[in-house]
Symmetry: C2
Subunit: 415 residues, 2 copies
């Protein structure tokens, strides 16, 4: 039997037991997992060193090296995150709906775990711990497949938290990592229909596309964010400036950062020179439409590709549009249904924008950077769904659950 199939079978078995574990035991296990991280910090750092050395040998970027690095402070952060998950409300067992039918059958819809969650992700090893914590709290077994650059760190973390959980009383095999860096294991994980209930890819667009294309397991698509900010003619332009700078510059490498600025033609001449200067001072490279270029000649000319690109970088496309409607059409054409914002003082414009723009999160007069489980008060997140099935936007504990109908009768039959 292949490793992945074996992990799948074990996870399935574990999930059946874990589904009915009490909230109290799950919380105790989460706290024990947190403590185990602190106690075993040296071992984690030692495993991480191997990854860092291999990373250096493979000449990976400084940014990636930084994301890969684990030190005592970061290990303490992971432990604190686990303890916070223990404080979140257990979604399992919630009575979602219930009614007595005319024939006196009582039909209850109750919240249950999904079962087995598969997670495919890239560099940061803290995802290993965060995702495992959310899955344990929501009663799901998890199979983790992190990036190959972090494999030693991930395996060490998995061992430590899985052991701590079992010692506290969790079923065996609730938390498992795939131990091989072989890409064939990922392909196999995608075909584990019947063992894995949902597969969540977190990472670049090509990873996500590959999972969508090849998975027979239901997938939750995450994260690609070609986000827009539209400055309406009625906008408070000072507010607009703050929001654009924040959405572009506060953390340009993440999916909820803004990539394209759309400006209503009536305010373009007044608004553009100031905001572009501000962005350029922050080292943002501008790719402007011809009108933008005619107003501010020191910008690059945008090509069709710029409207499509999620830069994830200090770059921004800028387009002047003749109307709110044209802004909405642009977003419908190029957006990825992640986060979209309008800055306006016009009530009707705000209403049209929120109704007609189809995205996980639609903002009026706020930065797109707020699309985040922590910010929304979900406590933590497994990623941000950009599909419409099952979960949309930041996925907290509830997104890791399903429901089942429980029906209490007294001998009813169907006539």
């Amino acid at each position: 039997m292949s490793e992945v199939l074996e992990l799948g079978k074990r996870a399935k078995k574990a999930s059946v037991k874990l589904a009915n574990v009490s909230t109290e035991l799950k919380n105790r296990a989460l706290n024990a997992m947190a403590d185990a991280l602190i106690v075993n910090a040296k071992e984690i750092i030692k495993a991480n060193k191997k990854d860092l050395e291999e990373g250096k040998r493979r000449n990976i970027s400084t940014a990636l090296m930084d994301r890969l690095l684990l030190n005592e402070a970061r290990i303490e952060d992971m432990a604190r995150d686990l303890k916070e998950v223990a404080f979140l409300k257990d979604p399992v067992g919630e009575l979602v709906k219930g009614r007595k039918l005319p024939n006196e059958l009582e039909v209850l819809q109750v919240r249950v775990p999904l079962g087995v969650v598969g997670l495919i992700y890239e560099a940061r090893p803290n995802v290993t711990v965060d995702a495992a914590g959310l899955c344990i709290k929501s009663g799901n077994a998890i199979i983790l497949r992190g990036g190959s650059v972090a494999i030693n760190s991930n395996l060490a973390l998995t061992d430590i938290i899985a052991d701590a959980g079992v010692k506290e009383g969790l079923p065996e095999n609730c938390i498992q990592s795939i131990s091989t860096a072989d890409r064939a294991a990922v392909t196999e994980l995608m075909k584990m229909h019947g063992y894995v209930d949902v597969l969540i890819p977190r990472g670049g667009a090509s990873l996500i596309q590959s999972v969508i294309k090849n998975s027979t397991v239901p997938v939750i698509e995450t994260g690609v964010g070609n986000c827009h900010i539209f400055i309406d003619k009625s906008a408070n332009l000072n507010m607009a400036k703050e929001i654009v700078v924040n959405a572009k510059c506060q953390r340009p490498g993440v999916c909820n950062a803004a990539e394209t600025l759309l400006v209503h033609k009536d305010v373009a001449e007044k608004f553009l020179p100031g905001i572009l200067r501000k962005l350029q001072e922050r080292d943002v490279e501008i790719f402007g439409c011809p009108i933008t270029h005619s107003i501010c000649s020191d910008v690059n000319e945008a090509t069709e590709d710029d409207w499509k690109t999620e830069y994830l970088d200090l770059k921004m496309a800028v387009k002047i549009v003749p109307s709110l409607n044209e802004a909405i059409l642009h977003i419908q054409k190029y957006g990825t249904n992640h986060s979209e914002a309008i800055v306006t003082e016009d009530y009707s414009a705000a209403k049209s924008f929120t109704e007609e723009v189809d995205a996980a999160a639609v903002y009026v007069n706020a930065s797109t950077r707020f699309t985040d489980g922590g910010q929304y008060g979900l406590g933590a997140e497994m990623g941000i769904s950009t599909q419409k099935l099952h979960a949309r936007g930041p996925m907290g504990l509830e997104a890791l659950t399903s429901t089942k109908y429980v029906i209490y009768g007294k001998g009813q039959i169907r006539s």
Copy 2:
């Protein structure tokens, strides 16, 4: 451009408009569609005749011919169904959750249509009308792909209801059927990621497996029901008899019919002879385990295959189990997570069964035949989901929706 791609593009466009159509207009359109069916009954029956003749020529079964047949009474039924959908509550626009964050951002989660729904189904042409009605009510465009035996009926029905909807004011192309019987069209529909938001296959196991294997569009798996009834040692045996006969015989060809009877060993000798005689009187063929065979020698011997088979027929597998726990293990091994029932008077047994059996619907002292949108008070259904992602059990209007976050700010930026 291929037909399917063209339908997909048109549906996508239509869905954007339909998402914001008022409840009142949708209801008027549903009523107009119903009236149009009645007015055009002759045309429908004429198209249906073509299918029936072709069916006869292809020698399809009497049962299939009956499912294919449309007459005035059946057309009136379809019209009535549409009018009933008009009476259901519009799920779109519901405020699911909302809160003001500490930074005064107002975060609302509102219910929105999925967008474009693809439905692949088999013989019965009334599915065309039912599914279109549910999609219109929930604000979704639909692309229909019925069985090739019903192609003329389906195209006639689609034309009539689509036209009636547009005349009443619905956007063009909300309801479209694929006009070719070519199977390549189905394959293409499965690859319409980006145009189709969900694909629902309704039909036999091989159709469903093929969609799961090949679709890049998110799928909702439906319908395969290897359903069990467990007769506990504490069961009221008269009640048990009624429930078993109902679950097996009331309509054996459907997914919520029972396929395997599990009987606690302590009541086997008392219960089996009576129930098996009763089933045999109703022409049910029995496939029993060795102990069943030792009690009632006039039954076939069950093989491993019998535990796995969804007969959809007057056949039933029977197994004596030593305990409640063994019954649950059997269901975990062979069940398809559809509908499972226990008959018991023991409170703890009922509790264990409902907690440990993982299925869309788990019954205590009632027939599995109740798993149905109409029975649960959902009004109508698009099928019965046996997966855990997005929807589980009978799928009514709400299963055809997603949510989006709408966030109202006053200039908030992330620090």
